[in-house]
């Protein structure tokens, strides 16, 4: 029973990776098409808003429905369809893995990566119902593809029972919420990178042509902010849930374990990001850089800290 489920899971992982690869290609084709088709003079649509917005509160107009026909590109539609199929395979891989192990599929580095990437892509797909963020497809799918590939090749371990310290309901809550937070930070990072590129272009310093089909830097910043806020709430919860669990399992709620330290660092960086939005001179590109640093810290915490740092969160299984 179990070996076959594990095999199903692996087959699904590799199929998902193949489909994601196609989706990634389609996303980049879409970006390339946008570049070639983009009208030259779409810039400077929002240049006037800063002067008007000075004295009153924040004049935010989230530009969601771009007037351009880019959203109807066939490549983009194909990319989204492929991503959805890939995600279905990916999710079933995580599901089979969980069934094979008889527990949640996030108890070692391979499973973390498998499930985290599935949730990131899932959040990316779900978020489209709220805002059209399909232009982040290449970033998100490419990122998850790399992580999934690394995990399958380098981090793979067989299903083994949970060590005693992980046998807790908090494993389900704490880790799941941490991954959800990571997903929103990933989207925020993608938006912030785009924002930086867009700001460069708006300043007349050039950049890839497809930027002309994307929202303005200010709109991107507002989107990034909203996405990261959600991530920040999840991260705060992760921190507290982790402390409650640590009290149960290790006898103290906070002990500056390496993983705890990095979770704290990430929380502080994003707290800084939120304050940066309200600080003169820090809005715009500077806060975008903070968001990117924050997400880099998340990835550092997930990879380097898990694999190379000594600490109590030694559950990579490697």
């Amino acid at each position: 029973m179990t070996p076959s489920l594990v095999t199903f899971s692996l087959i699904a992982v590799y199929s998902a990776m193949a489909v994601y690869t196609l989706a990634f290609i389609a996303f980049t084709v879409d970006l390339a098409k946008r570049s070639s088709a983009a009208p030259v003079a779409v810039a400077a649509t929002t240049a006037s808003s800063s002067a008007a917005g000075r004295a009153t509160a924040l004049l935010e107009r989230v530009v969601t429905d771009q007037p351009l026909a880019a959203g109807r590109s066939r490549a983009l539609k194909a990319a989204m369809a492929l991503t959805t199929i890939g995600w279905a395979l990916h999710a079933s891989a995580a599901l089979f893995r969980g069934l094979a192990a008889g527990r949640v599929p996030w108890a070692n580095m391979f499973e973390f990566s498998l499930t985290a990437t599935a949730i990131i892509v899932g959040v990316f797909l779900a978020v489209q119902f709220w805002q059209d963020l399909r232009f982040l497809g290449a970033f998100i799918v490419g990122f998850c593809l790399i992580l999934l590939g690394l995990a399958s090749v380098n981090f793979y371990v067989d299903v083994i029972p949970l060590p005693d310290a992980l046998q807790s309901a908090w494993l389900v809550i704490h880790v799941f919420v941490a991954i959800l937070g990571t997903s929103f930070f990933a989207l925020g990072a993608g938006l912030s990178v785009t924002q930086l590129l867009q700001a460069r272009r708006e300043a007349g310093r050039g950049g890839p042509g497809f930027l002309a089909t994307l929202p303005s830097a200010e709109a991107l910043e507002n989107l990034a902010y909203r996405v990261i806020l959600i991530g920040f709430v999840f991260w705060t919860f992760t921190l507290i849930a982790g402390a409650v669990w640590a009290e149960r399992a290790w006898g103290r709620y906070w002990g500056w374990d390496t993983k705890e330290v990095w979770t704290f660092i990430i929380w502080t960086i994003f707290a800084g990001y939120i304050h940066a939005r309200a600080t003169r001179g820090w809005r715009g590109s500077r806060s975008a850089v903070l968001a990117i640093i924050g997400f880099s810290a998340v990835m550092f915490n997930f990879t380097v800290v898990n694999l190379f740092f000594k600490g109590l969160h030694a559950y990579s299984g490697l």
């Binding site: 949970l162 399992a249 304050h275 001179g281």
Partner: protein, 528 residues
Amino acid sequence: MSSSRPSDHYDSPEPIAQPKLGVGGYLRFFWRQLTSMRTALFLLLLLAFAAIPGSLVPQRSSDPNGVVQYSTENPDLYKVLDWFGVFNTYGSVWFSAIYLLLFVSLIGCVIPRTRHHFIALRARPPKTPARLERLAAFTSRPFVANTGTADAATAVDTAARLLKKQGYRIEVFDDSVSAERGYLRETGNLVFHTALIGVLISVGVGGGFGYTGQRVVVEGQKFVNVLGDYDSFNPGRFFSGDALDPFRIALDKFTVKYELENQDAIGQATNFTASVTTTEPGSDPRQTEIKVNSPLDIGGSQVYLLGNGYAPTLVVRDPDGNVVWTDSVPFLPQDANLTSVGVIKVPDGLAEQVGMVGFFYPTAAETGSGALTSAYPDLVVPLLTLRVYTGDLGLNAGEPRSVYALDVATLTPVAGKGSDLPSLELSPGEKVDLPNGLGSIELTDVKRFASLDIHHDPSQVWVLAFALLVVAGLLTSLFIPRRRVWVKVVAGSIEYAGLARGEDPTLEAAVEDLAQKHAAALSLRLKS
């Protein structure tokens, strides 16, 4: 509004004049600097940065052995880093300075904002601006008042009712309604920041009243919560000895479950259970369990199961067969298969003082080189080997000695490494003679021991309560929009306008929605 926020808040106007400053002026200037957004942001990011070194080198608090190892491997670097307090990063002067400054800055921000918010909570919505079309969100609907001002009054009244129903605080003027909502946003913001201060104070002050202690208990033995019964004890700063809650814990049985089916994890321990009987004054003894992830709450303290191992029970007899020493000695596990090392000291009753270093193998096996090792953590083929030494154990000098260490440098080996005889080997139930006619030793039983951590931290619930307030404050401050809206009847149309206070991405949609609902309600009222 601007006065309550730091002067460099995004919403505040640009500073203009730079007057000359006296001493008081400079103090105020530095206070303003400290409580400015920019400084707070800088301190916040500096705090994140300053936390990094503590994750790169071992910390005394969480990994004392790692620090010792670091000092032997990198003696020069160790001295430099130690001078900076990097091995105690989170208690170091510089780290403390950053977060204390940050919290002072925070307090300097929270107090004026709280004062301002109290005033705002009691204030009425402001007068309707003259030119609504200049506001961030604006829309209008055509409206022609038929019968003088009566229709206009109805329109205003309808708007007032509608806004009230939507949770706005309203103020009706002649031809317009001014409304404000979302006061909870600022309340949440203040709760969030105040609760952070609460967490810091609970941790800093409350933690000082607690204690942590460790005790190894062998099956069949008991632990009484008095200072003398602890193996090690770390009191908080304000701890006094009489704060120990009276209770007793007897370890009846310690069971370990091993994975037997999964080929990839044979022998992995999947469950540790300490079955204990607890006694508290004034109540009957109670049988319960302590597990990993499931500590025992007793008398205001928590008892955690943090370690375990084997404790061989040994009996030492003199040449005449009289028992001179017997004990269950906890052996410290050395690897995953519980190869364990322990020390036996027999100071009295034999011709000489005898010390022994024992190696215990729960499932003894030979490695390729012929050395013994343990192949499995459970008791399958248990074997105890003993190196025997004679001489002065140093117990009579009055110096405290670790029960887990034997200084063999001053002793004479009589069996095992350094002597002519091989180590003594014992299986459970076996008895062998000690060398030189000293007597005999018998391994009567192998018990398990549990290593218990007893924690008492009265501030813990406070930290949790403040942490929950942090989340509650965060949610309300981030997701409740604070906004003002106005509905105004002008010639030929009704104007609707909204102004966000703080982040409010849905303002325009809300104003548009208001216009739609109001127009619908109004036409209904005018028709009837």
